[in-house]
Amino acid sequence: MTSSVDTAPAARGAQAYEESLEQSDRSLAEFEARHQSALDRIQHFLHGYPTMVPVIVLLVSVLAFGIVAGDRFFSAFNLSLIMQQVSIIGILAAAQSLVILTAGIDLSVAAIMVLMSVIMGNLAVSMGVPTPIALLVGFAGGTAAGALNGLLVTRLKLPPFITTLGTWNIFFALNLWLSGAQSIRSQDIDEQAPILKIFGENFGMFGAQFSYGSVLMVLIFAALWYLLNRTAWGRHVYAVGDDKEAAELAGIRTNRTLVSVYALAGLVCALGAWASIGRVGSVSPQSFYEGNLQSITAVVIGGISLFGGRGSIMGPLIGALIVGVFQSGLRLVGVDVLWQVFAIGWLIIIAVAIDQWIRKVSA
């Protein structure tokens, strides 16, 4: 970073500066240490492990609802049901996280997913195309749709918010056009292309019922964790999100990274499309209309910074589970739907407020 020419005088200057400050500096540190409250210590701890916030919230809310709502909530069956319920939004949140890590946002995730489920369904059920081919077309379509977002963002230099606001509408219109706003019935899928519904199948374990869809969700998060933390590509994603220009100066081909992020997000959405057919039972063009906002909710509650470059990919998985736990818990306590929506709203605000508070440590 620094050249040898200006380090010498700078170092000398810094030394002189440090010398004069050394005493006062030290006493300041002592001052802090003496008066460090429990809250300060928590703040420091959380700053070191930001994903602990959603994890703690999840644990506390599971315990709290377990006490208030009793066995109906705190049973292996209900907890696994929550996993099933959040699986699709969780998968969308995984795609959303990738984009948000680059300081972007993708409003089109749910629209890509629903469009691909309609394409898969139309091909496999209505047109009699072999299911594996229909799935491959869907995966390719999802990747292409994501890449389109990426190209618009990098080539036309459009802000991600505007780009994906546009493509959200475009994909939604295409979805209605292809499907005629009509669902493909569960029974017709069973007859023509049962593989489409495979992620809706359950397996039991210790009284819990896990759907393959919720397993898929966890696997997607695990795979993305590996890519982001163990590959050069992953480091590039974080670098681009943190400071695109600096990343470019460091030799990262930022546009290429961005397009690959959007394309991968599109592919994840297409996987979500397959899983959603199993979860919903039918190919439903009207479902998941607000899936984009729900995915952003999970990401935010999961502690990923909307400004990019910060946060763990596992956060949104926890975030999606927190939303599911709140909905299930409040439901079982007998709280009206209206107040469930109200609670989720506060959850978002509190999550972001805690995040800001933790960051103040470094400030």
């Binding site: 109906r72 209900n78 049901l81 099933q84 319920q85 699709i88 219109a173 209605l176 056009w177 005629g180 706003a181 009509q182 669902s183 019935r185 569960s186 029974q187 809706g200 359950n202 019922q209 959603s276 979860r279 919903v280 039972g281 039918s282 439903s284 009207q286 479902s287 998941f288 209309y289 909905q327 299930s328 439901r331 079982l332 007998g334 009206d336 739907v337 209206l338 929506v341």
Partner: protein
Amino acid sequence: MKRQALIASTALAAALAFAAPSHAQDEQVSACLITKTDINPFFVKMKEGATAKAEELGMELATYAGRVDGDHQTQVQAVETCIASGADGILITASDTKAIVDVVQTARDNGILVIALDTPLEPIDAADATFATDNFKAGELIGQWAAAQLGDEAANAKIAMLDLSPSQPSVDVLRNQGFLQGFGIDLNDENLIGDEEDERIVGNDVTSGNEEGGRRAMENLLQVDPEINVVYTINEPAAAGAYETLRSFGRQDEVIVVSVDGGCPGVQNVQEGIIGATSQQYPLEMAALGIEAIANFARTGETPEPSPGLDFYDTGVQLVTDTPVEGLESISVEEGLELCWG
């Protein structure tokens, strides 16, 4: 603004150009049909009904639609175009039932008969007439049917209510309260969902009227009480979602599911025993009756009267089921499939 004015004046000019020759010929009656969208099968059927009737009566028909549900601006422009073209009557399913009122008033001031189809304007008398499904009756029919199916066991029923949305739009309230009344449950306030005190209601949840919502809501309510045996659903997609849950809980054979709409996939689900009974509504009939009313208005100047006891004209609703119960009129699935939309 400038562009909008330009579009409006272009539309006006175009409309005048078209209108002029039609008036030169001997007084052909002309009508406009404005729907929320032209994609939803419900509106597609409406357009079919209006087109066929207009052809039969030798009328001129222009059709317009918003791009998506909620596209108010396009509907306003459509009404303006209809006024400019000198239409005799307008049939409209309004996207924004309050905001459309002003331009509708302008149309009426120009001597045009305005009929609200399917969705009443707010206030309802902002239109000359409203042709719609009696949603309360639609709910009542399936409520009565479900109670009759259970017989004496209706006293011990455990009911799940799968509604539309937390904002409780009128169609949501009417169908829900109609069902409960039909089932024999005290409503308390009939403008409010969820204020009933009857122990037989396990709970209410919302579905957004789609499969995903139906599935989730059913899961939630089964967690509250796994012994639910009657499920009311706002529409057939929600019912299909609820059935997926019942199947995954292994309860599909012990639970009665009822619904409203009468779309073709829904009636097919009645045929296969997924839905026990559904109340079918008739968009095609709605539009055809509307066109007839416009023809009548152009000839005699008479505006259509509402059905007795209602503030709108009831375009009919029928119970579709293959297990009819005594004392409750219903049609078979076969008949339902002939009349279904979508």
